[in-house]
């Protein structure tokens, strides 16, 4: 009643008016709050203080690994002729080399090498290895996994290949590749990538298969959308958080893998410093010379944990369901 009473005294002119020409178009549109996917991802990600803190620490570590070696040139062999410098504890090393220095604050290794300088040079190698391997394997795994999951014909063939290749022991493969093309940074990358993408592709295949048979995908196919477009527009966007999750586990896994292979004597060549080599050189006497063993282990662990955690948080943030305000 009150509404009607309120309107009774108003004439029609005030209630309705004709639109001007330029007002017509915008009023036809349905207005919704602006939504940008990646903006929302980062908004959710940076909302947590702990994420920012971890990111800062990780960036500092990455910068130190890539910049420190420029100012702190690491030479494993610099004291090789002087056995008195071998296996010195931090205190003994600083005393031997004359007072406090950053170079000897973590002691010296089995060849008189500086542990502190060694960590940064080693971390650089390990990180580069992890980033390059992850990039290659992720790219191959995701592209081929998408095709594998989408096409049933490819699936039949790839399953046979997967069953065979997944059963060839990795250390055997690495050994054979080392014998054929020699040890080195790129040969290790090659051996980690030659079959590494299969596991990612297999995981991704299952995810794609789940999305493939959803109604909107079927409808799209009925309308004659070509396969590459279905994969890139219908399926991949749905799987962004899955991709980030894979990345979160892959990146640290290559650092661990390098440590593992070095321990077995299959890793990088001797002149290239890496965290795996530092750990495997120090492991035999880790109770006697703990300062040689724990720093690289600690550095590798912090790196892998940060990469893993940040990846998980980014994956959580990249799931659109967390974007609701």
């Amino acid at each position: 009643m009150t509404n009607n009473e309120a309107f009774e005294n108003v004439n029609e002119e005030e209630l309705f008016r004709f639109l001007r020409e330029d007002e017509k178009v915008s009023s036809e549109k349905i207005v919704a709050p602006r939504y940008s996917y990646w903006k929302s991802v980062f908004r959710v990600f940076f909302k947590k203080k702990s994420n920012i803190f971890m990111l800062v620490v990780l960036v500092l570590l990455l910068l130190s690994a890539f910049i420190c070696p420029l100012f702190m040139p690491y030479d494993m062999m610099e004291n090789i002729t002087n056995p008195a410098t071998y296996n010195l504890s931090p205190a003994a090393a600083m005393k031997y080399f004359g007072g406090f220095s950053f170079k000897w604050m973590l002691g010296s290794g089995g060849m008189g090498n500086s542990i502190f300088y060694g960590i940064f040079s080693s971390a650089r190698t390990s990180l580069m290895l992890a980033f390059i391997c992850a990039a290659i394997n992720m790219f191959l795994g995701i592209v081929l996994g998408a095709v594998w999951g989408y096409s049933k014909k490819v699936d039949a063939v790839m399953l046979v290949i997967y069953n065979i290749v997944a059963n060839v022991p990795l250390i055997l493969l690495v050994t054979v590749i080392v014998y054929i093309i020699g040890t080195g940074f790129w040969s290790l990358i090659f051996s980690l990538c030659v079959t590494g993408w299969l596991g990612i592709a297999f995981f991704f295949r299952t995810q794609v298969m789940i999305i493939r048979d959803r109604e909107y995908s079927l409808a799209s196919r009925c309308l004659g959308t070509p396969l590459p477009r279905i994969i890139t527009k219908n399926i991949l966007p749905f799987l962004t958080s899955v991709i980030v999750t894979i990345l979160a586990t892959e990146l640290p896994s290559y650092i661990s893998m390098e440590v593992y292979l070095s321990f077995l004597g299959l890793g990088l060549s001797a002149e290239l410093p890496s965290l795996g080599r530092m750990i495997s050189l120090a492991q035999s006497a880790f109770l006697i010379y703990p300062w040689e063993f724990w720093p690289p282990v600690f550095f590798a662990s912090v790196l892998t944990i940060l990469l893993y955690l940040l990846g998980q948080k980014l994956a959580d943030a990249s799931d659109p369901r967390t974007h609701m305000m």
């Binding site: 059963n167 060839v168 250390i171 055997l172 440590v259 321990f263 880790f286 944990i305």
Partner: protein
Amino acid sequence: MKKYLFKRILFSIFSLLVVVGVVMILVYSLIERSVIFQTDDIWNKKSNNDRAVYEYAQYQKYGYLEYVDYTSFVRDKYVEKYGEDYYTQSDYLLDKDIVQKADAFMDNETVKEFIDYYNKKGYTFSYYKPITFKSGKVKPGGKGYFIASYEKSVFTRLGRYIAGLITVETTKDVKDPELTDRYIRIEKDPYGGGFAVVGSGTRHKYLIYFDGRFPYIHQNWLHLNLGVSYTAYRGQEISSVISSPTGELITKNVQFPTMFGTDEYIESAIDFHSLTYNEAEISDAEKAQFTDRYTVYSYNKAGLSMLQTSFVIGIIATIIAYALGLPAGMHMARRKDKLGDKLGNAYIIFIMAVPSLAYIFMFAAIGTTLFHLPYKFANANVKILAYILPVISLALPQIGSLMKWMRRYMIDQMNSDYVKFARAEGLSEKEIYKIHISRNAMIYLVQGIPGSILGCLTGAIITERVYGVPGVGNLLTNALNQHDNGVIVACTFFYTSLSIISIILGDLLLAKYDPRISLSEEGGGGR
């Protein structure tokens, strides 16, 4: 279902063969074969033609090729012709020495015979001319050789491997023509309890027998030939290397067959059930001890075999992991975002992200310094204590992964309709979690159980290395370091069969646990 299973098994056998074939190509064709001489002193000492022939012998030993030396062909020919006195005959000496005369070599009849015979078998020939000084004297190692060699293709190699995989002993195994009395029969067993299946003409004397050792009934009848080791365990069959007991000898009072019926006993560790036929000359001492030619034996040892050691450590770790990991995962899901869940997540992240080598050493450092547990397996005074650290190192990562998946699947189930319905029915939270959610979450984990049990048989590379455990984990890595090709192929065959069997058993267990799942295409809802 039977048809499905049959197809699955056939397909698995096919993949197994391909894997072994691929590994054979990797090992025998892709790795440069001359690496086996890198650390070989004998090879370094030899020179000229001697070195080339030594290489053939080594390649044959490592399984790369088969070769025949012309000299041995000549010898066999004249042994057949003249018997024992062949080496004094003039035509034998002529044919034998023709190899040293490069110009007259090709016209010799026996050489032509040799070429014809091995040409038909697909051999290739190489003639190493005698290398002489200018004076005509032969250089060291410069004697002439004529050699026919046969490079095995992957298919022959694979075919022979598969054909020789399982052997059954028969009474025709012993080639000795003097042995006329050949039989397999049940006899009273003087060394064990009751009766044994005894063979004559078979390689082993006792084919099936009983004794006090687990599993109480033993057999020497069927043999699994995974591959022969060339370097690490010289000439031994790898399946017997990993399954024969190690450690200290167990001595007890025993009688040799000639002592039966007397009061005479000797203290010895001889395992009389392991007697095999002696094709070589029998010594007088052996004649005084044995009544037949089965005189070759091994010893009773107290320790576990390599396989048992790995399995014991692995299975204890697996049981602990399931017993702790599953309840912990359930607890985390029930108290999601509470303190317990956060602590559990921190643990999972630690285990997932930190390199396994790092935390194994961490456990080793904590165990040895705080709890004074033995670090190296061999140095342990109390053997049981030596198992603790390896078991912990194996169990903790497994616990982490089980916790992670159990929590994930439980949380996924918690939002299902049937849970809401059960709650509406008035079931208590405890019942809902225990009867509904955890059982449904377990469906995803059941598949992996056979794999984690059978996986214990492959051992653990890092754990066994760090603690010096005498298990099977480092079989493959050691074989790779020593170019022990037979062991590499054997390991691959063993690991692949285990993984294939685990997957099939896992699927069967899954179908048993959840009757809604049907493996064959007829039933169920699969596409």
